[in-house]
Point group: C2
Chain length 339, copies 2
């Protein structure tokens, strides 16, 4: 029977039981090839019998690595449909595990984007970071780069073309192009855009996909675009104005939140989404999935993003480090009743 509340077994305990030195046990765990097969078997039996697992703190101290990936998590965005993080976090945790890493979460204040990073770095609590909030003009990325801290960003360094850190991102323009082309194929000619304010690089990127798709068919975009805040109310107002002033038959939106605003306007006016009028959102949130008749939405391949990020991380943490090439992934379109 295994002891319960005592301290866990150590290398020395295993060594004694197996009748070998501590070093041999260490080798059995880390470099099994070095041992003669019968010694290895004996040591492994002892490990099994005692339920031994190397003490993380001791190993971390010795190897100067924590096998922990730090990620800052912001508050859940309520009142919106934004739901990227939930899916991404799980994918990241899963993928990290396969690479031998755990994910350490820390809280961030929106005032000081550096807070949290510094302490973890100085205390060598994490080996690297995943930086997700790059839409903020990422001062963290700049700061981390200066500190030579290993990190991978989810999101392009929009305002820093000379940034040299690895990043993984999703091609937003490709997504909205996909959405717009889908609507064009379904016969729509006047397709409106509801996106974010001009200072959002991500918003402008997504907008570019919409206009690109229309121009590719020789269709105009003039008067069909609107830039608002990312709220349901804004999407509702913007779509009402566009309907009155530009007579579109379909909408492509920068977010599911805005698309929900459009659905709201449809309801206000007795319009059935998916018949005379269509709308496509962005992010394939749970909202898009469960709203009556469903909301067609651009889906980011977050599982793939996580895989690429962990790959890049493994490169950075290898000896010698590999400079990972940055990756741009292509989203897909989740088709539902709204289009």
């Amino acid at each position: 029977m295994t002891p319960l509340s005592t301290t866990p077994p150590t290398l020395a305990d295993v060594a004694e039981l197996a009748g070998v030195s501590r070093q041999t046990v260490s080798n059995a765990v880390n470099n099994p090839d070095l041992l003669r097969s019968d010694t290895l078997a004996r040591v492994q039996d002892a490990i099994e019998a005692l339920g031994y697992s190397p003490n993380r703190a001791a190993r971390n101290l010795r190897t100067r690595a924590s096998h922990l990936i730090g990620m800052r998590i912001g508050p859940a965005q309520e009142g919106t449909a934004n739901a990227t993080m939930d899916r991404f976090v799980h994918s990241l945790v899963e993928t990290s595990r396969e690479a031998g890493y755990h994910v350490l979460l820390f809280a961030g204040s929106s005032e000081d984007p550096i807070a949290g990073y510094e302490d973890l770095l100085r205390s060598t609590a994490v080996d690297a970071f995943v930086v997700t909030d790059t839409y903020l003009g990422n001062p963290q990325a700049v700061w981390l780069e200066q500190r030579r801290a290993p990190f991978v960003a989810f999101g392009r360094p929009w305002d820093h073309p000379d940034a040299r850190h690895p990043w993984v991102d999703v091609d937003g323009a490709a997504g909205t192009d996909l959405a717009t082309t889908h609507l064009l194929d379904r016969g729509h000619q006047r397709i409106a855009w509801i996106g974010w304010r001009k200072d959002s690089r991500i918003g402008e990127d997504r907008r570019a996909g919409w206009s690109r798709a229309l121009h590719a068919r020789g269709l105009p975009t003039t008067g069909l675009a609107s830039r608002v805040e990312d709220t349901v109310a804004s999407g509702r107002e913007a779509s009402a104005v566009l309907l009155d002033e530009a007579q579109p038959t379909a909408f492509v939106c920068a977010s599911d939140t805005l698309a929900m605003g459009v659905l709201h306007t449809f309801r206000d006016r007795g319009i059935t989404a998916g018949r005379e009028m269509s709308v496509v959102g962005f992010d394939d949130s749970q909202v898009a999935q469960v709203v009556p008749f469903g909301l067609t939405s651009v889906r980011q391949p977050l599982e793939d993003v996580a895989v690429e990020i962990v790959k890049a991380l493994e490169g950075l943490l290898a000896h010698p480090p590999t400079i990972a090439t940055s990756t741009l992934l292509v989203p897909t379109l989740a088709l539902r009743g709204s289009s």
Copy 2:
């Protein structure tokens, strides 16, 4: 200028700069009261100058504590409105930080609920766990209790009344009672229930609140209840059947997912939610918040849950440990257009 890519400063570096011993620096960090104020100031200056932060691994090794709380995270539940985790995780991270802990996430396979826990425990990678998936009949809780591992559960040990671990939970029955009473106050008399299958203890708890509220006013519940799977389609079907067979004027649901199904049926039949017919969901998901006209929903006080959990955790990890009393928190009702 601070050096960039070199190894971080150690206690010894600070000691040398301040002209004191290493132990004095350690005391300056951990027991500042022990130092004469001028020595303390000198050491603090040195710490500041070098940007010193104690090495976590070394400290962990010495103190036999990691200051890490482990939490298993399951896959995001797509196709449902379930969104408890996002909000809870952030609250937990935030609250833990204030108590000096970080949150370590690990992945779980649904086949083996123990996987992940064992390794972290044996390698002393975390000090304690937060167990959230207690609806599974929580084999983890039983297992952790056997191992004398410190943990706090979010969720009552329904099937183990003799369980002795601390837990924090939200009173589901109080929530549905609140929802039902709200509908009664608005003049509804025939209020239907759409919940989960009978083997869900949480589902039965929530159902109890609904029937309790009706019985308190001397109203019948017969024929007004339905137990289905937690999908939008099930909620849609169940509400259609109930409308035909029991003529309710309002629905209380065990989840926002089911409530979305009810809204779907309302649309199918040209019913406007919030006027002749009402519906209330459970969890105050983003879906409830952004769906046109809004879905009234029971909101779990997840921030408070996190606070109570961290309190209990601090008790467990104190010297000597305190047996935390378990807590049952009361949800609120987020009022929106659907009722």
